[in-house]
């Protein structure tokens, strides 16, 4: 079982993830239409590029935009969740040992204690996001079961990984569950809203180009996100 989930299944999951994301990227860009979107993307590409980069960068900085500053607590939860979500799996020691075994290279790694803390923070932040969906009427009204499913898919690798790492009595079970959860997440990304992982950059770039080319970017200093 272990050999199967970490061998062929992992390969398939990664393949689906990469091919899926490339497909989504191409499909998004090809579906842009200068006349329907009313943005002269190619005619003023340099203004567009500037607008796109500003639109992405400001939003990647914690408290970097009016909106992030307005929602102070949520912004903290949001960045904690996402930083942990991205950093932990990529720079985890265990993952990099596997990487070295399979592909012959590895990335710098996080100290175990840091990775462990990040994992706990992701789980706590995730729980806050769930509670927020229940508590706030303006979030509750737009929340669907699908949103919880997405959160569950993203949190599952962390919960199972945490249990496995701390050698819960049924270590083998949790380890396999962890690998499966990770694979489910990888496969889910291209097919679900988790595709925002890449589409975030694309939609932000698009609106950035809109503001950079058409809505004032060629006149003023550029929009104060």
């Amino acid at each position: 079982m272990y050999e199967f989930v970490r061998g062929p299944l992992a390969l398939i999951a990664f393949l689906i993830f990469f091919v899926g994301m490339i497909y989504r990227t191409i499909k998004y860009i090809r579906g842009l239409d200068w006349q329907a979107d009313r943005v002269a993307y190619t005619a003023h590409f340099s203004y567009g590029l500037k607008g796109a980069l500003r639109s992405i960068l400001y939003w990647l900085i914690p408290y970097g935009t009016h909106s992030w500053r307005y929602y102070k607590v949520f912004t903290l939860i949001f960045f904690t969740f996402h930083v942990g979500l991205l950093i932990t799996p990529i720079f985890l020691l265990g993952h990099n040992i596997l990487l070295k075994e399979s592909w012959g290279f590895s990335l710098p790694t996080l100290p175990e204690a840091v990775a462990d803390t990040l994992t706990v923070l992701v789980i706590i932040a995730g729980i806050f996001m769930i509670l927020r969906r229940i508590a706030l009427p303006e979030v509750r009204i737009i929340t669907t079961a699908y949103d919880y499913l997405i959160l569950a898919i993203a949190l599952a690798p962390f919960v199972t990984g945490f249990l496995a790492y701390h050698q819960a009595p049924t270590y083998n079970f949790w380890l396999i569950a962890h690998i499966l959860a990770g694979e489910i997440m990888l496969v889910a990304i291209p097919f679900t809203k988790l595709s925002h992982f890449i589409l975030f950059f694309l939609t932000r770039a698009q609106l950035g180009m809109d503001y950079g080319i058409k809505r004032g970017g060629m006149k003023g200093k550029g929009l104060a996100w």
Binding site: G31, R38, H44, F200
Partner: protein, 461 residues
Amino acid sequence: MPEGKLCNKQTVDTKELLSALLNDKSGKQYYEEMNHLDVDSKALWGLIQKSCKSRLRTWLEICAHCGMCADSCFYYLANNRDPRQVPSYKIQSTLGELIRRKGNVDNAFMQMCMDTAYSKCSCCTRCGLYCPFGIDMGIMFGYLRGLLFSQGFTPWEMKIGTGMHRIYRAQMDVTTEDWVETCEWMVEEYEDDWPKLTIPIDEKNADIMYTVNAREPKHYPDDLAEAAVLFHIAGEKWTVPSEGWEETSLAMFAGDWAACKMQVEHVYAAMDRLKPKRMVVTECGHAYRATVIEGPYWAGLKSGQPPVESIHYVEWVAEALRTGKLKIDPAKKIKEPVTYQDSCNYIRNAGLGDIAREIMSYIAEDFREMSPCREHNFCCGGGGGLNGIGRYRQQRNIGLQVKRDQILATGAKMVIAPCHNCWDAIRDMEEIYHIGIKWSFLKPLLLNMVIVPDDLKPKEE
């Protein structure tokens, strides 16, 4: 009854139809007929498949349902944080649902969409600045209005407006003769005080081609005269076209994209005919947005720019003050506290925030910013055509409260509102809420403040 006589899927292209609509007081019969209008689901779905591309589809799909757009919407704030006013909810329950059902929706659903798209969204596009994915509900509601229009679900006044544009190439029934006569009449009225004042019509190769909002010739001809006097003082070589002088576009609010195209092409044809160096648009926000910002796309101009450089009136004013073409008498600067209504259409959607501040620095001694301001301003409450739609008067009046409170918080005695829609909304706000505020366009204020060169003054007897 699948199609009404007045309320139907046809566009209004004849004077007979237009006057039939106008004679239907407050659209009584029109809205009654709307209750029986059939939805052509096949055509609707066909249109969606053709026109709803990756930008909109992705926005609808990846919305994280995080609610960060909630507080950005003035309707949400004005309606006691009613969750049904959250921008994401509003668009998901209308356009989102329409697409999920592949256009298989009934009359009641379409009317709900219409009510939402017009009375719960002014297309101010503020929410797009607050969404981490840059999801812009204002743009999507504009798109939805177009879908609704194609099926005949459009407020009565908007349907009339599109007819006006289609028939008169203006939002009101102002003909070429009416327009030219108004220009001549205004010169006669003002030339005693301003000898040699002219409103040059159809002059070729002028430095400026000036274009207006049809309300000016129709209801406020003095605005046109004031513009003429200011150009006269500034020594501009300017002209107005006899045809193609109308900048506004109720068709844009209604989503009648074919009429939008006809309207802007009429203006662009005047540019081609008269070959001015630049065009200046009067103090109107949506007019500028329609003809200068969005118009080139309707007309299929790949550069995304109008045929000649086009600027908003505030840009001309700032330039004239900067270069000294207009000089302000320091003693006459505005002393009382004033604030500025940032129009969504030319500030957020065209980047003229700094220009507005520059003007204020020349003319006001005690300028107070609203909070928030500039690109982050709230809509006045009357945008997206709402000022003109009787059916949604109540909702509009509630929405005005946000701007009212913003103005009150500045302590200003006057609001400078160089946008017809904003100006109207603030006038109505005063009528309803009596906050003791004055409101004004720039032109009359400037006329009171500029230094008039001696040679332009009337000769003393």
